[in-house]
């Protein structure tokens, strides 16, 4: 596998042409979305599907608009938990990966357990973190999000750090470069794209982790508690609207990290030259 961070900067077009091309790229996906919504809306009327089984998209949208204050506040509350968990989980993942990549023997001893962490059934784990950190605060949800984020970040960082071409390292050694220099100039830039891929995956996992945690108790302001509670009281329209808000926050988080990735990788590749 070649692991050089190749960032191709295309020749710059005018803004309007770029926007136009982007719109064209997204057109098929947009059409699919519209089609799905229309089929959903119409099939409920055609097949006489009961309101409590599947509400119409228009009803969900209407419900979102009526309860937007409550829903967006809930989304923001849950996002804070997800973000906290993401920072902790990714930070630990990178840290452990750095240690294991540097001290290989220690790495071989610890790696099985780090991988075993990914086998934790997160649903079963949630009530336990509630017991440890208290069910009402944000900490217990951050812990769950952190556990979910840890694994992909850890694995990808280790792979990034260790997939350097041996010839590059030999070259650095021949220049009498120390471990720190090799890390800074070769290992770190090689690992960056791997790390960012994992960071992006972790954004969505963090949001899922926070909501799973909220299913086992939390503030009524939190989105997961709201969705679960609305389901139990047959308010499926608001439950669906809540799911939509959760997705929106997750996607927003993903896009934000993706944007960060573009900036960082562009800078990393330019300093390398």
């Amino acid at each position: 596998m070649t692991a050089q961070p190749v960032v191709v900067t295309p020749p710059r077009d005018s803004l309007s042409r770029r926007v136009g091309r982007r719109a064209l790229e997204w057109l098929p996906a947009g059409l699919v979305l519209v089609l799905v919504l229309v089929i959903w809306q119409e099939s409920i009327a055609v097949f006489h599907i009961k309101r409590f089984l599947a509400p119409k998209p228009t009803a969900i949208a209407g419900n979102f608009w009526t309860n937007r204050g409550e829903l967006l506040h809930g989304g923001w509350y849950t996002f804070q938990e997800a973000f906290g968990g993401w920072v902790i989980g990714c930070g630990l993942g990178i840290l452990v990966a750095l240690v294991l990549a540097r001290w290989r023997r220690l790495g071989r001893a610890l790696q099985p357990y780090a991988i075993a962490a990914s086998a934790i059934p997160i649903i079963a784990f949630a009530p336990i973190t509630n017991a440890w950190f208290g069910p009402f605060g944000k900490t217990s949800k951050m812990a769950i999000a952190a556990v979910l984020c840890f694994f992909p970040v850890f694995v990808n960082t280790v792979r990034g750090l260790t997939s350097v071409r041996p010839s590059s390292i030999e070259l650095m050694r021949s220049y009498a470069a120390g471990e720190i220099d090799i890390f800074r100039r070769v290992r770190f830039p090689t690992a960056l794209p791997f790390v960012f891929t994992a960071l992006k995956i972790a954004t969505v996992l963090a949001m899922i982790g926070a909501i799973v945690g909220e299913y086992f108790g939390g503030s009524p302001e939190a989105l997961g508690v709201l969705i679960n509670s609305r389901n139990a009281t047959f308010d499926f329209e608001e439950a669906w609207a809540g799911i939509g808000v959760a997705c929106a926050f997750g996607i927003g988080f993903y896009l934000a990290v993706a944007a960060l990735e573009r900036v960082v990788l562009r800078r990393a590749s330019s300093t390398e030259d």
């Binding site: 009961k50 309101r51 409590f52 009530p127 509630n130 017991a131 208290g134 069910p135 009402f136 086992f216 108790g217 939390g218 503030s219 009524p220 302001e221 508690v225 679960n228 509670s229 389901n231 139990a232 009281t233 047959f234 308010d235 499926f236």
Partner: protein, 372 residues
């Protein structure tokens, strides 16, 4: 693992699943040749709250009425209304408020028997906190399970100028299904059913004294006394089911046999606790003994006869549900019918049974450490 292996594994799983299903179905049909099969979905896990139904089955009341009743325990993510509306059970037990909410969302359900005539919900706090009235809960952390179980509490708090639905004047937190948080004082006030959570607190040791907590350590505010009580456990079914006269007859038999179970449990608490224990409840004997006694206190005495809806209590419940369940209109009387319960009462009276329990008195049940 190769893809082939996965495909085989999946196939084996599916086949074993089908075989297991088929085996279950065949034994069930063998055991009950001429009985009408019905399923009852409970609101919660197996416990003395449902002793009457378990006893009716154990004593053969259902079988004598020509019924083969399967009792399905509930749990945190089981909504009985959804199970019954989905056709996986003919009858369900849940709080009346939940039925009203589901009806407002177009789920065609109807209550046929209001088993409990009092509310078992209380708000508890530590005596040392000094929070001995609802008014003093202003600015405090109050826990409730939510999911539609919060209406009585919200109405009580609102009476004293707080806005619990928007966390103004009081902080609402979602109560977990264990009272650890209250013992650790992570919230000031907890919601507690007289028959469950209250006992769980009393079954715990006070680390300061090494002895069990007692009622003297607690402030217990009953919703029955705050004027915001709502009706709880009722038997319901779908309106569609009752369109068939044969099913109405089945419902009458089912309700009569169930109520007979409850009458038996009023007069033989210890027997009914044994029956519940035989059905594998999550919490042990001491806890179920306490619960049986408290459950009887929610049913007896029954001034109109067990199971008959009290219209005034219904109205109060409907008003509170409409307000806190965000309903556009207050649920009317079409949410319940009493003819089935009345017919059941007639047959029980004809059999010489006491359906009022005017002389029933609460027993003095001592809590045991850990409910053992």
């Amino acid at each position: 693992m190769s893809r082939k292996v996965w495909v085989w594994a999946a196939a084996v799983l599916v086949v074993t699943g089908m075989l297991a299903n088929a085996a279950g179905a065949s034994t069930r049909s063998e055991g009950s040749r001429k009985l009408t099969k019905i399923t009852l979905q409970l609101k919660w896990v197996t416990q003395a709250q449902f002793a009457g139904y378990y006893e009716a089955k154990a004593k053969g009341y259902y079988e004598k009425a020509g019924l083969d009743v399967t009792i399905k325990p509930g749990g945190p993510n089981i909504v009985p209304e959804q199970v019954v509306a989905g056709g996986q059970a003919q009858f369900g037990i849940d709080w009346l408020s939940s039925l009203m909410l589901s009806r407002a969302k177009g789920v065609p359900l109807i209550s046929i028997d209001q088993v409990f005539n009092k509310s078992g919900l209380t708000l508890i706090s530590w005596k040392s906190s000094g929070i001995n009235t609802v008014a003093k809960m202003k600015g405090k952390k109050v826990a409730n399970w939510l999911f539609g179980n919060e209406f009585e509490v919200f109405a009580a708090l609102a009476k004293h100028g707080m806005d619990p639905a928007h966390n103004k004047g009081v902080t609402i937190v979602q109560e977990p299904f264990s009272m650890d948080f209250f013992l650790k004082k992570q919230a000031d006030v907890a919601s507690a059913m007289t028959y469950n959570e209250l006992a769980q607190v009393l079954e715990a040791k006070n680390p300061a004294t090494g002895k069990l907590y007692t009622l003297k350590d607690l402030n217990v505010i009953k919703m029955q006394d705050t004027g915001t009580a709502m009706l709880e456990d009722n038997i319901f079914t779908t309106t569609g089911y009752l369109k068939n006269p044969a099913n109405v007859a089945t419902a009458k038999k089912f309700v009569a046999a169930s109520l007979q179970g409850w009458i038996y449990c009023r007069d033989h608490q210890a027997d009914c606790v044994k029956t519940v224990l035989a059905n594998g409840p999550a919490l042990p004997k001491g806890h179920q003994t306490w619960q049986m006694n408290e459950i009887n206190a929610l049913i007896w005495p029954a001034p109109k006869g067990i199971g008959i809806m009290n219209p005034a209590s219904y109205k109060q419940s409907a008003k509170i549900v409409a307000k806190y369940g965000k309903l556009k209109t207050v649920p009317g009387h079409e949410a319940y019918r009493t003819d089935i319960a009345q017919a059941a009462l007639q047959s029980l009276k004809a059999a010489g049974l006491d359906v009022y329990g005017r002389n029933w008195h609460k027993l003095n049940v001592k809590v045991t450490p850990g409910g053992k």
